[in-house]
Amino acid sequence: MLNISQLLDEIKASPYREIVVVAPHTGKITFAEIAPGDRVHGPQGQWKELPGDRLATLERERNPKPVCAPENGEISLVHKELNGCFVEAGTPLVVLRHMLTRDEVQRTILQKTLHLFLAPERAKYYFTPEADKKIRSSDAHSVTVRDGMELFIMSRMKREVPLHYTGPDGVIYEVYFKYNENLDAGAPLIGVCPQAHLHVIHDMIIRVQTEWTET
């Protein structure tokens, strides 16, 4: 059976994650007034509607675009040498040291506890229209999956093929892919929790919510 205390202790031992902020596209980069050691905030508000602190501005074809902090954290490295330079898409700009939030801890533990159904090939994935409708109208938890049921549409090179779920019966607890996103083979698609284990998961969530303090 799952040992939540042990998992939590493991995460507490190294509660940080390094986030490398990269240039989303090419352009001329101008850094904001930031330096290693500064604390920055990620998106705020009830729906994360307020963007994070501005780290830099990327200007392309006379359109300046802010590059914002994706999460709360402490700046550990700024590639200041690039200031004023033209950068390519994907160039590392800033490194953030981010302390895991409750949600992230919860997600990490869930990944270890749920049954993960993995992407068999590099492709884009969608739910079948029936499952998609159900998820949209309530949420993923309302969808019960059975072994062998047709659950996904796998799309690559403009061809679509149905994909059947294999694994234990249960409810979809987590969805790991986004609409129109290319997934690598072996990336998790969904996390499934058998009905009987739901109470264990709920206990875990309550423990994380109470024991994990966010800074």
């Binding site: 090419t26 390519e88 898409a89 090179m157």
Partner: protein
């Protein structure tokens, strides 16, 4: 083809290669041949592609940039500015036939040259209905039918009647008329009419469907052509637009079920060897003359392809004009000679004339010799509706020969993961022979020598269209 004096003007330019894979490699090679520096772009998925390796190895300063997407015009313009490019080569696909992109390149503050026809010509010939109207005004034959949406039942019946009569004159045993919702697309709202008496009811059904679905009751009426060969005429012209020349015809009739070309042959027919039920030489001469006539009339000012349907009765109809370099330009170049010299490179000609050089030769200087075929080697399963195969290529080797040109971005002997984001074209193999018999034999010899293996995630072996290509080699140019 170019003189030393103009070489210096060419070398002042720098070209942004706004494409990927095989065509990017061909553009870079042509640039190298002309002594023009270039800049290539790539995305994260394409980091292992051959065009990236070539640019890294031979490109020099500021010759390779990673961008977020090939479809993002801002990225391309921004890279072009930073690398001080003076011209953009769009290749084929992506922005090649996008007149807005061509216009942006030519009209922005830091102006550049779009290597392709001028944007006005792309706009004019990019629209199929407009092309049809233009062709008709020049008495160039197009697929019989309406060249605008029809809203009037009487007029629709009149057009349908003439199409039925026309097919009867042509000796077609089962005349067919196609009724399409003008605003529709992707096969929606298309019906066939076999019997003239049924026309009215089908017309009304399609019209009502179109009104319901697209809020536009316009209907197109065309002849449905079942049994045809797909021919092309390669046109090359310089910026004066006054003296276009042709580089012969191509036959692209061997296609996959999704009507994607798989084998292309130059010339379009070989009446001296194969018997046709019609005067094939006259068809070839006619489509070349019609294509040149249209090119001259619009002032066509770069490379382009006029695509034709040729029926079993030997009647050619203009289908569309591709205002760009095509994948299969290599077969035409392979059989062509300029002033008796082979080694014609149509991409180099496109770049040279695109940058403003004069053509420097006339139609009389161009001659043709031999037969050339191009195989499109693709990881796909022809027995299963040409479904693309995805996985890792482990071995890709073939026997080298002087009559074989292999164009590929896939590394030999190194494992290569096929990116799923783009089409699964692996290589183009261009085979040359002095006549159709020799070309066929060499084609088969090449396919026999080919080693193409790989595995997907489940351990299944690579599927390719090799057997399909081989089986179809026998019937090339037959009609």
């Amino acid at each position: 083809m170019s003189t030393t004096q103009s070489d210096d003007t060419l070398r002042k330019h720098k070209i942004l290669v706004a494409n990927r894979g095989e065509i990017a490699i061909r553009i870079m090679r042509a640039c190298k041949k002309l002594g023009i520096p270039y800049t290539a772009v790539y995305t994260a998925e394409d980091a292992a592609s051959g065009h990236v390796r070539l640019a890294r190895a031979e490109g020099g300063e500021k010759s390779l940039f990673r961008v977020s997407s090939y479809h993002d015009a801002n990225e391309l313009m921004c890279v072009a500015d930073d690398a001080s490019c003076t011209a953009v080569h769009p290749g084929y696909g992506f922005f090649a036939e996008d007149f807005r992109f061509a216009r942006r390149v030519a009209k922005r503050d830091r102006k550049m040259i779009f290597i392709g026809p001028s944007w006005k010509i792309i706009r004019e010939l990019g629209d199929k209905i407009n092309t049809k109207r233009l062709a008709r005004s020049l008495e160039v034959p197009t697929v019989p039918g309406s060249d605008r949406p029809i809203y009037d039942e009487m007029e629709a019946e009149r057009i349908a009647k003439t199409i039925f009569e026309f097919q009867q004159q042509q000796g077609i045993r089962h005349p067919l008329v196609l009724v399409k919702a003008s605003a529709g697309g992707g096969g929606m709202g298309i019906e066939e009419v076999y019997d003239p008496d049924q026309f009215r009811s089908v017309y009304r059904r399609v019209r009502n469907y179109a009104l319901r679905q697209f809020k536009d009751e316009g209907v197109l009426i065309e002849q449905r052509i079942m049994d045809f060969n797909h021919l092309e005429v390669q046109i090359v012209s310089d910026r004066t637009g006054k003296n276009p020349v042709h580089f012969g015809t191509r036959n692209c009739s061997i296609q996959s079920t999704g009507l994607q070309k798989r084998i292309e042959v130059a010339p379009g027919f070989t009446p001296e060897v194969i018997n046709y039920s019609f005067d094939a030489q006259k068809v070839l001469d006619d489509i070349v003359a019609y294509s040149l006539k249209m090119a001259r009339s619009v002032g066509y000012d770069n490379v382009g392809t006029w695509e034709w349907i040729v029926t079993r009765q030997g009647a050619p109809y203009l289908m569309e004009v591709n205002t760009r370099i095509q994948v299969e330009n290599g077969v035409s170049a392979r059989i062509a000679k300029i002033r008796g010299q082979d080694g014609v490179d149509l991409i180099a000609e496109q770049i040279r004339t695109g940058l403003g050089e004069h053509l420097g030769y006339t139609q009389d200087d161009i001659s043709f010799e031999g037969v050339s075929i191009e195989y499109r080697l693709i990881a796909e399963d022809p027995e299963n509706n040409f479904t693309p195969w995805v996985g890792q290529i482990e071995c890709f080797e073939w026997e080298k020969a002087p009559w074989l040109t292999m164009l590929t971005h896939v590394p030999e002997r190194l494992p290569y993961e096929i990116p799923t984001e783009f089409d699964p074209n692996l290589a183009l193999a261009i085979v040359y022979g002095k006549d159709i018999r020799q070309t066929r034999e060499r084609g088969i010899a090449f396919l026999d020598s080919l080693c193409l293996t790989g595995k997907d995630n489940r351990g299944n072996g690579l599927k390719s269209n090799e057997a399909f290509l081989k089986a179809n080699t026998e019937r090339i140019l037959h009609f």
